[in-house]
């Protein structure tokens, strides 16, 4: 039989303070137990990096074989494959090839996030005349310049 004396002995053994303080004491104990994990959660930052690319990197050596005035649209297609974009310019046309390299880095502390995004690209344009002969070719190869960095780090000239 569970007597009042037994209950008092039990309470004195289990609880730091007499059970008479009730729910308030239970909450206090719970808060004490969760304080450390909560503090760790608040101060533990999480870092991340990610990289995304679009299309295949452009190859300068292959593009060097194409000569304005002699190469045709067929030569360009055979050498570089299908373009990413074709622009009609009246009776003329221009083809674009591109490769984009985007890098993101950052870290979060609960609801505060620092992010740096850096996207660079390789691009090549080929302009053809009315007879589909290559007239002009231009390229920019900068995809390798994309970097992982924090938002306050100086990584390019403009910073």
């Amino acid at each position: 039989m569970w007597t009042n004396a037994d209950r008092r002995r039990f309470d004195a053994h289990v609880w730091h303070e007499p059970r008479s303080c009730g729910t308030k004491c239970a909450m206090k104990t719970l808060i004490h137990a969760l304080a450390l994990p909560a503090l760790l959660l608040f101060i533990a930052p999480s870092c991340f990096i990610s990289r995304s690319t679009a299309n295949e990197p452009l190859q300068a050596q292959r593009m060097n074989t194409l000569t304005p005035g002699t190469s045709t649209a067929t030569d360009v297609a055979n050498t570089l494959g299908a373009p990413n974009e074709v622009v009609q310019l009246g009776k003329r046309m221009a083809w674009r090839y591109d490769f984009t390299n985007a890098k993101q880095a950052g870290f979060s502390i609960i609801i505060l996030t620092f992010v740096n995004s850096d996207a660079r690209a390789d691009r090549a344009w080929f302009f053809f005349d009315e007879s589909s002969v290559l007239q002009y070719a231009g390229r920019t190869l900068q995809a390798d310049h994309a970097t992982y960095a924090m938002p306050w780090q100086n990584v390019h000239e403009r910073d």
């Binding site: 310019l89 674009r96 979060s108 609801i111 505060l112 992010v115 660079r120 344009w125």
Partner: protein, 133 residues
Amino acid sequence: MRALILLGLVLCTGCASFTYERDMTFEPVSDAAVEPLRVGESDIGDTLRTLGAPLYVWEGVKDSIVLAYGWKYDRGWGVKVSRAIASFRYDDQIDRLEGWILVFDSDNKLQIVRKGLLRDLANEARQPPAYVE
């Protein structure tokens, strides 16, 4: 109280956060790089040699050709809600890029050089799309 709990849940699950972000997209083309190009003298070939490949090429009015060079450099604080990472499309970029527009006539000679927001410059320089019947 419920609203507070909901806000706490949204913040703690990463759906929303206060963000300091720097966004660099493509390399800028400086004024000095464009300076050697001469209106009425330089052609598309000179421009490609001097500035490299443009970001966009459009058909302009009266058989003209428009080359656009663009880039973006933003930094600042903001509130992000469920951000999508690693999505990149060329066509999505133009609204946010600043840069140069160079317009060439039908003989491929440089006629106009402008600097500003590409979205605004493009509206002026591009040929409206033709109707397809």
